[in-house]
């Protein structure tokens, strides 16, 4: 038996619906036979009647309703069709959900699933990565699983957390990533993972870019250069300790993120390492992000727009030559 990243998300939701009566899923076209735009809820409506619910096409209303349900003790999961459209619900997520506990002492345990990141030809409205925006605001937890195993355990953990969680699932990984089975062990949210040990350069990244970084690490390993790859797993909270420990081993840092370059997770990592670990750096830290333009439709342009193994390798070579 093998399980894809997408199936892991569906299995995690099935598990949650089975184990916890407070859980329900709220989204556009997720009920009935359709099972959502990416089939992440396929079959769940039949198995769990009245707990997988269709919503109007209003992200604002979807999140607002979920917040109300959470206040009443429920554990709602909101499925956005695309991460891009969650911007319609920014007021509910940032101003209401993010601040609620701090204003009222009533927790807001909602989980918002964001199908994120680029796939070829999807263009500016169906390819964006939103983790930087949500991480900026207090009160939210932002996760971005890079593996089938993390996709499963982190969604279960996200629903268990009393704070609103933004769960960034990568669309490219839906079908491209397979595991033999669902995991038995889990690493808690807030802990990064060293997915490949190395001694020459640390690449700190998350989500789909972990796999690009691993490809680069394998390529360099053939030439005797060992790159350490750190999968952040959760962007917020950010596991600074694991990142600093990695930089302590290698002395060199490259951060890779698929979102836009202005600010964001990669900038935050570099700021923290420069502040807390300046003495660990043997070369200037660097980062690669998508280009600072809207995401292009054309597949060739798209491939150049986001970081890829080729551009990561070029930057890595530059840092290693310092």
């Amino acid at each position: 038996m093998s399980v894809t990243y997408l199936e892991a998300i569906r299995e995690a939701q099935a598990h949650l619906l089975r184990e916890d009566k407070r859980v329900f899923i709220y989204g556009q076209d997720i009920s009935g036979k359709f099972g959502g735009a990416f089939k992440a809820t396929k079959g769940l409506a039949a198995e769990f009647p009245n707990r997988v619910l269709n919503t109007p096409i209003s992200e604002d209303a979807m999140v607002g309703t979920a917040i109300g349900a959470a206040m009443e003790g429920m554990r709602p999961i909101v499925e956005m069709q695309f991460a891009d459209f969650s911007s319609v619900a920014l007021n509910q997520i940032l101003n209401n959900a993010g601040t609620q506990y701090w204003r009222t002492n009533i927790p807001c345990p909602i989980t918002v699933r964001l199908p994120s990141g680029g796939t070829k030809g999807s263009g500016p409205f169906h390819s964006q990565s939103m983790e930087a925006i949500y991480s900026h605001y207090p009160g939210l937890v932002v996760v971005a699983p890079a593996t089938v195993e993390d996709a499963y355990t982190m969604l279960i953990d996200a629903v268990a957390i009393d704070d609103p969680v933004i769960y960034c699932e990568h669309k490219y990984l839906y079908y491209h990533l397979k595991a033999d089975a669902l995991p038995k062990d889990r690493l808690p949210i807030g802990k990064a993972r060293v997915v490949r040990p190395g001694r020459d350069l640390s690449i700190v990244t998350y989500s789909a870019m972990v796999h690009e970084a691993l490809a680069v690490a394998r390529e360099f390993s053939a030439g005797g250069v060992e790159i350490e790859v750190v999968d952040l797993r959760s962007v917020k909270p950010l596991d600074t300790d694991t990142v600093l420990a990695s930089v302590a081993r290698t002395g060199r840092l490259l951060c890779v993120g698929e979102s836009f370059p202005w600010g964001g997770a990669t900038a935050e990592i570099i700021a923290r390492v420069a502040t807390e670990g300046f003495h660990l750096l043997d070369a200037a830290p660097a980062r690669i992000n998508a280009k600072d333009t809207p995401i292009p439709y054309h597949p060739n342009l798209w491939s150049e727009h986001r970081p890829n193994a080729k551009s990561i390798a070029a930057k890595a070579r530059q840092i290693l030559a310092e």
Partner: protein, 413 residues
């Protein structure tokens, strides 16, 4: 104003050799300028006619400032347009994610409030001035990663192990432009582990630290021969008998009392001078050198100097010299002649400008112009090391000659 030397930031106009309307050839010297180093000529970049001279004699102009214009043919002007360097922004842009886009946006002026209105900038016709106009901006080095660059990691490791840059001299850096990477440092430290090592004594590390700090200055040494016979004769008449080094110390003290500026220290553009003429004496102790100081050596008789010296040498050899006894000297004397050495280039203490060294006295034939024959004399070399920032060769030479004169009449010391 062209960059006429590596360290040149500005220059003073000394002379202007042309007037507007003058025909000039290529590479013709038209303006003379003076920097802190030398007087140099500014030449024309191409043939033409002097259009204007904007500079004035005695005026000080920064590198890149417009001094005047040469009217040139269009062909010449075109040649300069081609040679003008590209603006640096494009290069920077390529290295930083998004920077390219940002700078492109700024150039297009799309929605940027901070766009520079280019029409408000001084417009200079290409090729018609002395230098491509890049005035008004600080030059930015392409990269600061030269051989001497130490990364934060390397610096932190050095601080942890109390290493100085001098300790790293043996490492050939493998990094950019030969810089020492943390791996270079660690493998160097690893290689040391395989060798025999013991802790250096406190006095050794103290000397090492003082010498290293002193060596950060531009030190120079001058030397002269001195006839010691008058001194050797004089000391036979005294009791206790002062050693030749004490005569030298006394002579140095008296010479410095006349020209105390020679011993001044230059700190932050200020010449710092001590009130009293306190002279140190280098004494070899076990595993190092100590330099106890004799206070007011110019006001102390040779007899008193002798007893004080004997006392200090004894204390130094027994390692009983306190830090007060070694501080505050303005110059020191090193009698390396006792090791049979003729001359040396002693290093002044880090807080002193001068160190006077006395070589071994040796019988040498000296030519007498008067008697037209050689006669034997006890000759020794006096070497004076000095911080060249405070003192020049001439000043050091005059001080040395004064000392030689004083040593010629030792009865007066």
């Amino acid at each position: 104003m062209p960059q006429l030397g590596e360290s040149m930031a500005e220059a003073t106009i000394v002379a202007i050799k042309v007037q507007p309307g003058d025909k000039v050839a290529a590479d013709q010297e038209i303006i003379e300028v003076e920097t802190d180093k030398a007087v140099m000529g500014i030449t024309t970049p191409c043939p033409g006619e002097i259009a204007t001279i904007d500079a004035e004699v005695k005026g000080i102009y920064a590198v890149g400032a417009v001094l005047g214009y040469v009217e040139a043919s269009e062909a010449e002007a075109a040649r300069f347009v081609k040679n003008a360097p590209e603006p640096t922004t494009a290069q920077v842009a390529r290295e930083v994610p998004g920077r390219e886009e940002e700078s492109a946006e700024a150039q297009n002026g799309s929605g940027s409030h901070f766009q520079v209105d280019e029409t408000s900038l001084p417009q200079v016709a290409a090729g018609s001035h002395f230098q491509v106009d890049r005035a008004g901006v600080l030059p930015v080095p392409a990269s600061a990663k030269g051989a001497g660059y130490l990364s934060p990691r390397v610096k932190a490791r050095m601080a942890e192990l109390q290493l100085t840059q001098a300790d790293l001299a043996a490492i050939q850096g493998s990094g950019n432009a030969g810089r020492i990477t943390i791996k270079d440092l660690e493998s160097f430290l690893g290689s040391l582990e395989k060798q025999t090592a013991e802790d250096a004594s406190a006095i050794r590390t103290g000397v090492a630290d003082a010498m290293r700090r002193s060596w950060t200055r531009p030190l120079a040494t001058v030397g002269v021969s001195v006839c010691l016979d008058p001194v050797l004769e004089d000391r036979q008449k005294r009791d206790p008998k002062p050693g030749p080094a004490l005569y030298v110390l006394r002579a140095l003290a008296l010479a410095l009392a006349k020209t105390p500026a020679a011993a001044s220290r230059l700190i932050g553009g200020r010449a710092i001078r001590s009130e009293s003429i306190d002279i140190g004496v280098a004494v070899e102790a076990q595993d190092g050198i100590m330099v106890p100081v004799i206070r007011n050596a110019d006001k102390t008789s040779l007899a008193d100097l002798t007893s004080r010296y004997t006392e200090l040498v004894d204390l130094a050899r027994r390692r009983r010299v306190t830090s007060e006894m070694t501080s505050g000297g303005i110059a020191s004397v090193s009698n390396f002649g006792t090791f049979g050495l003729d001359w040396g280039t002693p290093i002044p203490l880090p807080d002193q400008t001068l160190l006077l060294g006395l070589g071994a006295g040796k019988k040498e034939p000296i030519w007498s112009e008067e008697k037209k024959q050689f006669f034997p004399a006890t000759q020794a070399k006096l070497t004076l090391s000095f911080d060249h920032r405070s003192l020049d060769g001439g000043g050091a030479g005059r001080l040395l000659q004064h000392i030689v004169e004083l040593l010629g009449k030792p009865g007066k010391l």
